[in-house]
């Protein structure tokens, strides 16, 4: 069971080897991995939409989709067909090039990011030694594409959405990258494969600084893919649907797909960097990876079901005034725990983090909730 997928691939490659020259064999193995990801991406996206609707429904005392197929399993198929058959209205004032390119440019990086995620032991499509850098570089392209979409569709609401998303992405990307630095220091390499292997003894999330950077990474990841408390660019209650107001039919499906694949890739990377990737007792490695990722995805949907939306300036304030300094303070804490000898290696980082949290909460007193007292007259 453990190496199921690896055996399938070696089978296929051996079959190709019979007929193709040696360079053809390596090419075919690359193509097989690429096809696997190309098939996996949309499949994951389809069943994430169903999972989201089911989880949210159950949180709201509803049943969720259960008409299309048993327990609603064919609902994503129905949605897909609906998206395909829906008329693709293009606003006449839209800028042809930007409007046309935006959906493509948002879906492609979302798929490319899957290449670097280690689904199981030895099951990373492309084991680059700059895996994390590749991931962060690709996920930062979405900022420009979202602004392209909103500017291209010439609609006031989408321009508002576009402005918001640019400001949100930039401020959270900085924090995202800095919060990964302690892990790279501990693991000593950028390749996701080695990071996971270096966690075989103890998960990074088990260490205090690791847990803090895991939370910061997760929160910034949420902001990256415009999910739940940070879904300002597509706030339906304020600016109708934000940057994809003017998109319909297949184009909107691409946006929708990109959003869910980003959610999956952010959760997958959090699992890889902090929660020990596919490390886990008895169950096969890839199964562990999927369990952990889908647990994190449940938390993402859980956020969506509970939390109201942050306002634009709170969003910025949280990123620049609270998360960024915390992430920066986390780096020396990680360094301390690595270099200092035993008794201090846990005490000093904890002390540093405690002090920084206290100082930052003091400076951000304005954001804290006031306790209100209500008197009664008769």
């Amino acid at each position: 069971m453990e190496t199921l997928f690896i055996q399938i691939k070696t089978l296929l490659v051996n079959a190709a080897a019979l007929v193709l020259p040696p360079w053809g064999v390596t090419l075919s193995s690359m193509i097989i991995s690429a096809l696997a990801i190309l098939g996996l991406g949309p499949l994951i996206m389809m069943y994430l939409t169903l999972m989201e609707r089911k989880v949210l429904a159950r949180m709201q005392n509803r049943i969720g989709p259960n008409r299309a197929g048993p327990w609603g399993l064919l609902q994503p198929l129905a949605d897909g067909i609906k998206m395909l058959t829906k008329e693709d209205i293009r606003p006449s004032a839209a800028d042809p090039l930007l409007y046309f390119l935006a959906p493509i440019l948002i879906a492609v990086p979302a798929l490319m990011v899957f290449a670097v995620i280690p689904f199981g032991k030895g099951m990373t499509a492309a084991d680059l030694n700059v895996g994390v850098l590749y991931f962060v570089a690709l996920s930062s392209t979405t900022t420009l594409v979202i602004f392209m979409a909103s500017w291209g569709s010439r609609n006031k609401y989408s321009v508002l959405g576009g402005m918001r998303s640019v400001s949100q992405m930039i401020s959270y990307e900085v924090t995202l990258v800095i919060s990964v630095v302690p892990i790279l220091m501990a693991a000593g390499s950028l390749s996701t494969q080695t990071i996971v292997e270096s966690q075989s003894g103890r998960w990074y999330a088990a260490t205090p600084w690791g847990l803090l950077s895991c939370m910061i990474f997760f929160i910034c990841g949420l902001a990256e893919c415009n999910r739940s408390p940070f879904d300002l660019p597509e706030a339906e209650s304020e600016i109708v649907a934000g940057y994809h107001t003017e998109y319909s039919g297949m184009r909107f499906a691409l946006f929708y797909m990109a959003e869910f694949m980003n959610v999956f890739s952010i959760c997958a990377l959090t699992v890889t960097l902090f929660l020990g990737g596919w490390q886990g007792p008895l169950l096969p490695s890839w199964l562990w990876f999927l369990i952990k990722t889908y647990l994190l995805i449940f938390i993402v949907f859980w956020f969506r079901g509970t939390l109201p939306r942050l306002r634009a300036d709170h969003l910025m304030g949280l990123a620049w005034k609270f998360l960024l300094p915390l992430a920066v303070m986390n780096i020396p804490a990680a360094a301390m725990s690595h270099f200092l000898s035993e008794p201090f290696s846990t005490a000093v980082p904890l002390a540093i983090l405690m002090v920084s949290v206290a100082v930052l909460s003091f400076f951000n007193k304005g954001y804290a909730a006031e306790k209100r007292v209500y008197h009664f007259t008769d």
């Binding site: 209650s237 109201p308 006031e370 009664f376």
Partner: protein
């Protein structure tokens, strides 16, 4: 915190303001209500409400119809609480025609009015959270409780929302047997739901961040602009018509009137939560004191049940007002002795509460403008009557 639109940095840019239309079809305008918004960046600079999309001249319809025939139309004024609209209209015409309401009918009326208040307040909080972005979860909890109460209304009056149950001098029919026990069981479960609802919301930091010090309304402006109901009480003025006029039999119940301190969106939200708890107290006392028998419509007004067109109140005028969940709902009726009113005017609290919408929103962000509109709690059936 009021943000100045022009920071030193942006003073020398010649930026343009963005003029957008929010509504009449917009997810957050609670109906067909349009706001002509001028934004500088995201900050609201000017806001002109535009109404009338749901205007059907309810007053002219009432003037061409007999008194009893326009009772079902009052259900459609504030379609979230038809019982309190009926209550207001019935009170006004009873004052006009000098009809007394028997004991049991008054208790039934108070019970139904307080149940409507609970239905209205949980729906408002649910919709407010929707505007804040909590994806429908608080709204579905609120609507789950609302369903239970609407089923009670369906059993009593025959229709969930358009009850048309009050008549001049009492109510149309008596409560079905066993209904008071069902109200009692519903009421025992409701506080637990309210605590769960408060646990979900009241200390939620994002909610506090988004609602506190947003849309602050001073006492003088609130009073001068004729606001009433939770809006006025959140700004610190404990003025509740049930306590002031003591109409119907509200004088017999002891309940408190919650008053806010800062008058911002958070206070308006929490004053409504406290008011629901007070309504539960009233319901509790009413259910204990209600006489088990007794006629449900005054002997003098009973014949008009069968023949509404013979109901000709004496010449004169009357202004009956009621503490509807939205505020002071007033009915001004002038009779010229004929079965049709000469003049029929509705004092709609939602409409008058909108006077201060622009004052509250200026200087705030677009996101806040939606939340402030949500906290004012307007229903377009009543605004445009």
């Amino acid at each position: 915190m009021k943000n100045k639109t022009d920071t030193p940095l942006t003073e020398d840019f010649d930026t343009q303001t963005l003029q957008i239309n929010v509504g009449p079809q917009h997810p957050a305008t609670h109906g067909v209500f349009r706001m002509d918004l001028t934004l500088d960046g995201e900050t609201v600079v000017r806001l002109k409400p535009v109404m009338g999309y749901l205007h059907r001249n309810h007053e002219q319809i009432a003037e061409n119809m007999t008194y009893a025939a326009s009772m079902p139309y009052t259900d459609r004024l504030d379609y979230f609480n038809s019982m309190s609209n009926n209550f207001g209209y019935a009170l006004a015409v009873e004052k006009l025609a000098g009809i007394e309401v028997p004991e049991r009918a008054d208790y039934i009326r108070v019970i139904l009015a307080e149940l409507t208040r609970i239905v209205n307040h949980i729906s408002v909080i649910g919709f407010l959270l929707n505007d804040l972005g909590a994806f429908f979860t608080p709204l579905t909890y609120a609507f789950r409780e609302r369903e239970k109460i609407l089923d009670l209304f369906e059993e009593i009056a025959g229709s969930r929302m358009m009850c048309n149950y009050f008549r001049f001098g009492g109510v149309k029919r008596d409560l079905p047997p066993g209904l008071l026990e069902r109200i009692r069981t519903m009421m025992d479960v409701f506080p637990r739901f309210l605590d769960e609802f408060e646990a979900l919301l009241t200390d939620n930091d994002i909610l506090c961040l988004r609602c506190q010090n947003v849309g602050v309304l001073g006492r003088e402006l609130a009073l001068n602009a004729g606001l009433s109901g939770p809006m006025l009480r959140a700004s610190g003025l404990g003025y509740d018509i049930r306590k002031v006029d003591r109409y119907s039999i509200y004088g017999r119940f002891d309940f408190k009137v919650p008053v806010g301190s800062k008058g911002d969106v958070y206070d308006r939200y929490y004053v409504r939560v406290l008011e629901m708890r007070e309504s539960l107290k009233i319901l509790d006392q009413a259910l204990r004191q209600i006489p088990s028998s007794g006629d449900i419509i005054s002997r003098k007004a009973a014949p008009f049940l069968k023949a509404p067109r013979n109901f000709k109140p004496p010449v004169g005028e009357a202004y009956g007002r009621v503490e509807s969940p939205k505020g002071e709902l007033g009915f001004y009726v002038v009779s010229d002795g004929s079965p049709q009113p000469w003049r029929y005017h509705v004092r709609a609290p939602s409409l008058i509460n909108l006077t201060v919408l622009e004052d509250l929103c200026i200087g705030h962000k677009l996101a806040d403008a939606m939340v402030i509109l949500g906290s004012i709690d307007i229903v377009l059936g009543e605004v445009d009557h």
